[in-house]
């Protein structure tokens, strides 16, 4: 559940996943490790909580899933972003940026 992805605001996990998938289709494990890697281990996301989020996005039609073989020839489910997902990401990112700016101004009033 979203509340279990400790420290993340609602929808943050989805936004990050969509952002990752915008560059290339990926499977669940790759997504989890990439998020951890790029955040420099700053974000402590329970890997398992990725899957309910992926199901939610599947249901909303933001991503599509297909079975494929991994480099270690293991069956993996690869997720791909859909046009609907791209649109969603744009909206999320812009509102996220507005929020960040707002928070930043509050936290550092001297700069504004």
């Amino acid at each position: 559940m979203q509340t279990d992805s400790r420290g993340l605001f609602p929808g943050a996990l989805e936004m990050m996943v969509l952002q990752m998938l915008r560059r290339e289709p990926m499977h669940g494990y790759a997504l989890a490790s990439r998020i951890k890697e790029t955040s420099g281990e700053l974000l402590q996301v329970e890997e398992g909580s990725l899957y309910p989020a992926l199901q939610r996005m599947l249901k909303e039609g933001w991503v599509q899933a297909e079975w494929a073989l991994s480099a270690r020839s293991r069956r993996i489910r690869v997720y791909k972003i859909t046009p609907k997902g791209r649109k969603r990401l744009q909206r999320e990112v812009s509102s996220f940026e507005r929020m960040l700016t707002g928070i930043a101004r509050v936290m550092r009033p001297s700069e504004s």
């Binding site: 329970e46 899957y51 309910p52």
Partner: protein, 458 residues
């Protein structure tokens, strides 16, 4: 989406989810091993980082709203087990519900077929039969003379029109081998339009044909099927009645009947064998009369007007003929004529009693459930202690009563169909519309709904 597809898809998605989690864990463990971690430790670490797979799987499932379905299935399974564990209680509960639902459904099906389903006539509420009331002999349904009906037509303001009809006209279909005796009627040409019934094939006879005593005949749907196999080209064919050839000119609809279902065909009034005599006699009781009330005129108003007309005629045509029934009139609504004057009252009494029976059954069951609830307090306390929410407990109890109600309803239907068959078998012959009685789906649904709601209230 079909249920099957739903189940198929659901199973597939759960398999996918499980495989996906497994592949995630393996991949992670393999990666850790490659970086030099021992096998066991790598697997443990993969699991720890993943978190609780059960919770995550349940969360995934909840996304597709399967949880409600899962809970329902659990509840029903639990309710079944609970019912099996106390067979005595279950049997009594189901039986009392079944009796209540069954009796109500059976009786209400009868009421609906006899009283509530519309007659096959246009605006049947305005149709009445008019009889001569024989005060001297206490006979309420005597016939009337043709001349008197003509006087009614002239003087009455309450009726749109009157149609005249014989009081039974049994004849031989002499063309058949062997000849067959059937019930038929001779009727005035305006009868069909007065009832508001049109033939399905061909036409009915005209006033001219009636005046000219043309030998034409309108068949019932059943006779048409029997003699002509339902062929459209039966029109114009001949039917030999009492040795005389008649032309078939029309067929009435399947649900049409007049005056009862046994009547097989209708011919012009003037073909009555005694027409010439009956046409001129005043003091006779030969004809049956149907009247259509004008819109907005009540039966009581019509009755009081006919009483006045009767008094006038009595003054104008005095007689001391001892066999004559008099000029008093008895106006009877057609529905009451068909089902019998006492029938609505009797059925209302029966319906009332079975309704009370259902109430008693519901309250019995309510008390039984209440008593069981007291016994089960311990069980509920335990369930609450291990984390069942209030809503979850209520849902479980609801599923139990709904399961009981469903079982009661099913047994009720079986009981109702048996009761109905029994009722039909003991019914005396000649009750009109009886063959139209079947278990009514709407009635059944209603009764079942009432009993479920009734039990929930407790």
């Amino acid at each position: 989406m079909s249920i099957l597809f739903f189940f198929f898809r659901r199973k597939q998605m759960e398999r996918d989810a499980a495989e996906e989690v497994e592949s995630h864990l393996q991949e992670k463990a393999a990666e850790l091993e490659e970086s030099g971690m021992p096998h066991e430790l790598a697997r443990q670490r993969a699991r720890r980082d993943f978190g609780n797979p059960t919770i995550h799987t349940e969360d995934s499932r909840a996304v597709w709203r399967w949880q409600a379905w899962d809970h329902l299935r659990q509840d029903l399974r639990f309710a079944c087990r609970w019912m099996r564990k106390s067979p005595g209680f279950t049997a009594i509960a189901i039986l009392s519900l079944a009796v209540g639902i069954g009796a109500n459904t059976a009786i209400f099906s009868v009421v609906k077929a006899l009283l509530l389903d519309p007659l096959p006539f246009r605006d049947p509420g305005r149709l009445t039969l008019l009889w001569t009331e024989d005060r001297k002999r206490g006979i309420h349904e005597e016939g009337t003379s043709w001349l008197t009906v003509q006087d009614w037509k002239q003087r009455s303001r309450s009726f749109e029109d009157f149609a005249i009809c014989s009081r039974g006209n049994p004849v031989f279909l002499s063309g058949l081998q062997p000849p067959e005796r059937v019930a038929s009627e001779v009727v005035s040409s305006n009868l069909f339009s007065l009832l508001g019934s049109a033939p399905v094939i061909g036409r009915t006879f005209t006033a001219d044909e009636e005046a000219n005593r043309n030998r034409v005949v309108v068949l019932s749907h059943a006779l048409w099927r029997r003699l002509f196999g339902g062929a459209e080209d039966a029109m114009g064919k001949t039917l030999e009645i009492d040795g005389i050839r008649h032309e078939v000119i029309g067929v009435m609809p399947r649900d049409f009947f007049f005056p009862d279902q046994a009547t097989e065909f209708w011919r012009p009034l003037t073909l009555d064998p005694f027409w010439d005599r009956q046409r001129i006699r005043r003091y006779t009781d030969w004809w049956r009369v149907v009247g259509r009330l004008k819109p907005g005129v009540s039966v009581a108003q019509a009755q009081s007007e006919m009483n006045r007309i009767g008094e006038q005629l009595e003054r104008e045509y005095p007689t001391n003929d001892p066999g004559f029934a008099g000029f008093d009139v008895n106006v009877v609504p057609v529905l009451l004529q068909i089902v019998g004057k006492k029938m609505p009252f009797l059925l209302a009494v029966l319906l009332g009693s079975v309704a009370v029976l259902l109430l008693i059954a519901c309250s019995n069951l309510g008390h039984l459930l209440l008593a069981r609830g007291a016994v089960r307090q311990h069980e509920f306390a335990v369930r609450r202690a291990v984390g069942a929410g209030r809503e979850r407990l209520v849902r479980q109890l609801l599923s139990e009563s709904i399961l009981l109600a469903a079982a009661g309803a099913v047994s009720g239907v079986i009981l109702a169909s048996g009761a109905l068959r029994f009722l039909l078998s003991i019914a005396p012959a000649g009750i009109p519309r009886l063959h139209e009685i079947t278990i009514d789906g709407g009635v059944l649904l209603f009764t079942a709904a009432v009993s479920i709601v009734g039990c929930q209230d407790k």
